[in-house]
């Protein structure tokens, strides 16, 4: 019976998803969502693009304009549960979602990137009835800004509306943790939960006898205030940077500069294109805009790369960004954050000595997948608050709402939980704590789970079956 259900697709757990636009994000989404078992139909104007996707992934392709009624019908908009518009054009994405909403009974997600619309997104969303509008550049800028506030960290993922964060950092030499086990360092680790340690290519979810070594990449989850205290105890830099140097004046640079200026951080932007420079100078009157080639060593020195506290290459070319990063690592001890668009060759990039790397494309796909997971839950109510792919895709960190009584009110140590899974924190009415074996989940809690299993979409998935 389940087979018939699957074919006729009356199975509620499988979503009919239409992805409009087979650019990089479209392809990544098709990959991830089809791997999660959903029915994917992709639409693109270019036959080659459609062919490429439908040959690589198990999806169906339709060639045509995604905001045309006829094409949407052909792609099966009537039965679709979710439409994701990620074409190059913001207007097309919005139009496509609007039409999709009128024709079918689906949720719609649009990508809108132009700064002109940035402040109007909530308005657009509610007026056009679009479920979600994502602005990858804005999100990327937010992530970079977060890292600049805590330069000691390699990456920061925030949960519970920013109350809890998952921080990844590199253990410095001569750190008070080095050479000691987790049990021995109980005082130092007070208030934080170490949820993963990467050493070379290995990822361990450490137990009490795990011994830290200098150079380990440690990830921990903690309420925000504890992070600062913890970093101070092990003498990792916690002071936010006071100035930033950005190479490349694209959209991310614009959003980032705006945020940083608001926080009182000095911003320098080096941009090649004169027109863009004058636009930036108009819009960001407090920033210093230099016009010139950002890969020119003299220009970098002249602009003061040696004195900068942070350096952020944001050009459109990944290779340039990587080279600039390596250069900056060599000449300065500034905090360097690299933006990389391409998602292949991640292992190669991980092998380089780079500080923090930000992938705007992952930010987009992660939030859409979190939405899709929440959506394919039978109730349709969003019980996944946040989802991050961590440790180079080997694990997921999910924030879930406890809404099923079968897991509630039993001490964690007595529950039959899945392996390779960690309940990292519980948020009970605003009070965030790290659970011990004696604690119970209660209805209405939100929990953060770190797991190697993929596809969690409800709290009962933590139970071993």
């Amino acid at each position: 019976m389940s087979l018939i259900k699957k074919i006729t697709n009356s199975d509620r757990r499988v979503l009919n998803v239409i992805i409009v636009g087979c650019g990089n994000v479209g392809v990544t989404l098709a990959d991830r969502l089809s791997a999660e078992g959903h029915y994917i139909t992709v639409i693109d104007k270019s036959l080659d693009a459609v062919k490429n996707v439908s040959e690589t992934y198990d999806v169906m392709g339709v060639v045509g304009n995604g905001s045309s009624y006829r094409i949407l019908m052909e792609a099966g908009i009537e039965k679709a549960d979710l439409v994701i518009a990620v074409t190059d054009s913001d207007e097309l994405n919005l139009l496509c979602c609007t039409i999709a909403k009128k024709v079918g009974h689906c949720a719609a997600i649009a990508r809108v990137r132009t700064p002109d619309y940035a402040d109007e997104l909530p308005y657009l969303r509610s007026r056009l009835g679009i479920s979600m509008i994502i602005n990858p550049e804005l999100e990327a800028a937010r992530e970079i800004a977060r890292l600049l506030r805590l330069p000691g960290a390699i990456s920061i993922n925030s949960f519970a509306r920013g109350h809890v964060e998952m921080v990844k950092f590199k253990l410095p030499e001569k750190c008070s943790l080095c050479g000691k086990s987790i049990m021995q360092t109980h005082d130092i680790l007070n208030g934080v939960l170490v949820c993963g340690v990467e050493r070379g290519d290995d990822l361990t979810i450490p137990g009490g006898s795990f011994v830290f070594e200098a150079g380990d990449i440690v990830s921990f989850i903690a309420p925000v205030r504890n992070t600062q205290l913890f970093f101070k105890r092990i003498s990792v830099e916690t002071k936010a940077v006071s100035n930033a140097m950005i190479v490349g004046g694209g959209r991310i640079a614009y959003y980032l500069a705006k945020m940083l200026i608001d926080e009182g951080i000095d911003v320098k932007i080096i941009e090649y294109d004169e027109k863009r420079c004058s636009y930036l100078a108009e819009e960001l009157s407090d920033a210093m805009i230099f016009c010139g080639d950002g890969t020119n060593e003299n220009l970098l020195l002249e602009s003061g790369i040696r004195d900068t506290e942070s350096f952020i290459p944001l050009t459109n070319i990944d290779e340039e960004n990587i080279l600039l990063t390596l250069y900056a690592k060599k000449t300065t001890d500034a905090k360097v954050i690299t933006k990389i668009d391409r998602t292949n060759f991640r292992d190669v990039i991980a092998g380089l000595d780079m500080d923090s790397v930000v992938y705007p494309r992952y930010i987009t796909t992660e939030s859409i997948i979190a939405y899709a997971r929440a959506k394919h839950n039978s109730l349709g109510s969003s019980n996944i608050e946040t989802l991050y792919r961590v440790f180079d895709d080997r694990a997921e960190a999910i924030e879930l709402l406890v809404d099923q009584s079968e897991v509630a009110d039993t001490p964690l140590m007595k529950m039959h939980l899945k392996k390779d899974m960690l309940i990292a924190s519980i948020n009970r009415g605003g009070r965030v704590f790290i659970p011990s074996g004696n604690d119970c989940l209660m209805m209405g809690d939100t929990v953060i789970i770190v797991t190697k299993h993929t596809g969690f979409d409800e709290i009962s998935d933590i139970l071993a079956k």
Partner: protein, 484 residues
């Protein structure tokens, strides 16, 4: 080349075949025949070879076009070889090449036989012969895709290599469900035909085997005179279902979704029905004379046209005795074949249409050299890649046809025999004219010619290229660097 995944797929195909081989064993048991044992042995042999290959799933399940093509070609060869063994074991077709010819003819839904007396075969063997038609009709790899979830989109390569037609489209986003839907439609149509045949008073065994032959558009008769001995009602049912199985299965899917308008707007469907109608009418007026019964003539004309265009190969009358005009029409529709995405063979109606439109475009181009023209097909502008692939298909087809003809002619039979023998096997039809006419068989060819014809049948069923890939030495020999 990812040989590991190819052998894994091969292992699955053999395992499935061993399950299929159990069925004639039961049929043989039911009729108390000693031949049944040889099918059990055949099943065990296939299982023993197939099972070790599938015990461990390969780590790397990614494969590309070439692996898909090679896998499909090898699977069909293996399928035929193992399917031929029971005939040899039971001694009913002692010569292995003959047994292979019969089995390939079955799986490729050709229906050419080397047997002069079909009725002398055991029930088990007759059942297996017909059953191979049914398996081969929709394709064994499509069946495999329906039950075996392979990772990623690469499975489309398998489906594309096995399915007839210039381009293969999915019905639903998941390949596995597309395969399931295709088999579902196939089974439902088969069952409807079976019920209609039984309602017409056909014995159960005859009805089942005839249904297998019709559904796969194969055409192995179970009587020496093919379908001539059955009642007009049964002949009509078979004729209509032959035409139905020659329709693109996507049309049935559209009907299932109640998208009738879209289904009937299909250009290929209209052309296909048009050709069937025109050929029937022309042949009827050609063979009808004052002394013959008009109802019989219509039935014979329609049955033969349906049988040949869908490349089935059943016959209700000896069309070798028909006037030349009718025979030429039959030879022409031999080449046209059924619709793309059906169980039939031949060049396919849609390819002929694309080629005709391309020819028209060329003429227009000479008239107005600067004029920009695009070929429209099924309401869309045809991609130039499809047109190129279709032209390449035709050229390759002609090459294979001519080379086979030359090789067959060495033996020294008359031209009509050689020409129609190649046409009948390459298009997966079955009977030809003259010495290979509907009342004759292919038994008189020597071993070499039979092997050429076996190759033609496989090439025709798999749409030329997968089989040709096997002849490219780069598939087998390539330099591999050790541990880079």
């Amino acid at each position: 080349m990812n040989f590991r995944i190819i052998s894994y797929i091969l292992g699955w195909v053999l395992t499935i075949e061993s399950i299929f081989l159990i069925m004639p064993f039961f049929v043989g048991l039911y009729y108390g025949e000693s031949a049944a044992v040889s099918f059990l042995i055949g099943a065990l042999v296939a299982l023993v070879v197939g099972l070790p290959l599938i015990i461990k799933k390969p780590k790397n399940t990614v494969f590309f076009v070439k692996e898909g093509f090679v896998a499909v070609a090898l699977c069909w060869i293996a399928l035929s070889i193992f399917g031929a063994l029971p005939f040899v074991f039971s001694g009913e077709i002692p010569n292995f090449v003959d047994a292979l010819f019969e089995t390939v003819s079955g799986f490729t839904t050709t229906g050419s036989s080397i047997l002069s007396d079909v009725e002398a075969l055991s029930h088990a063997s007759i059942f297996w012969r017909s059953f191979t038609h049914w398996i081969g009709g929709m394709g064994v790899l499509v069946f495999l895709l329906a039950i075996l979830p392979l990772a990623g989109g690469s499975q489309m390569y398998l489906m594309r290599a096995e399915s007839p037609g210039p381009s293969v489209s999915k019905l639903v986003p998941k390949t596995q469900y597309t395969a399931l839907i295709l088999y579902g439609l196939y089974i439902v149509l088969s069952l409807i035909q079976l019920l209609l045949l039984i309602a017409g008073g056909m014995p159960m065994f005859d009805a089942v085997t005839t249904m297998f032959g019709t559904a796969g558009t194969g055409g192995f008769g179970i009587k020496n005179d093919s379908m001539a001995g059955y009642s007009p009602y049964i002949q009509w049912v078979v004729a209509i279902f032959m035409v139905l199985f020659g329709v693109n299965f996507n049309i049935y899917f559209l009907l299932m979704l109640r998208r009738f308008k879209q289904a009937f707007k299909n250009e290929e469907l209209r052309a296909y029905f048009g050709i069937v109608l025109a050929a029937t009418v022309l042949i009827f007026f050609n063979i009808h004379s004052g002394i013959t019964n008009a109802a019989d003539d219509i039935r014979h004309a329609f049955f033969q046209v349906a049988s040949i265009i869908t490349t089935t190969g059943y016959a209700t009358t000896d069309f070798d005795l028909w006037p030349a005009f009718s025979q030429v029409i039959l030879v022409l529709i031999m080449f046209i074949g059924a619709s793309a995405g059906s169980t039939g063979g031949g060049i396919k109606v849609s390819r002929i249409m694309i080629l005709a439109k391309r020819a028209k475009q060329e003429v227009q181009h000479y008239l107005h050299p600067k004029r920009v023209t695009k070929i429209h097909f099924e309401g869309k502008v045809l991609d130039s890649e499809v047109i190129h692939a279709t032209s390449a298909y035709l050229i390759t087809y002609v090459f294979i046809f001519v080379s086979s003809l030359l090789l067959i002619a060495i033996e020294g039979h008359d031209t009509t025999t050689c020409f129609t023998a190649v046409a009948a096997t390459l298009n997966n039809i079955g009977p030809g004219l003259s010495m290979v006419g509907p009342t004759q068989n292919f038994g008189f060819f020597n071993g070499f010619s039979k092997i050429v014809l076996i190759f033609d049948m496989l090439v025709g069923r798999l749409e030329l290229f997968p089989m040709l890939m096997l002849f490219n030495p780069r598939i087998w020999f390539y330099k591999r660097k050790k541990n880079i």
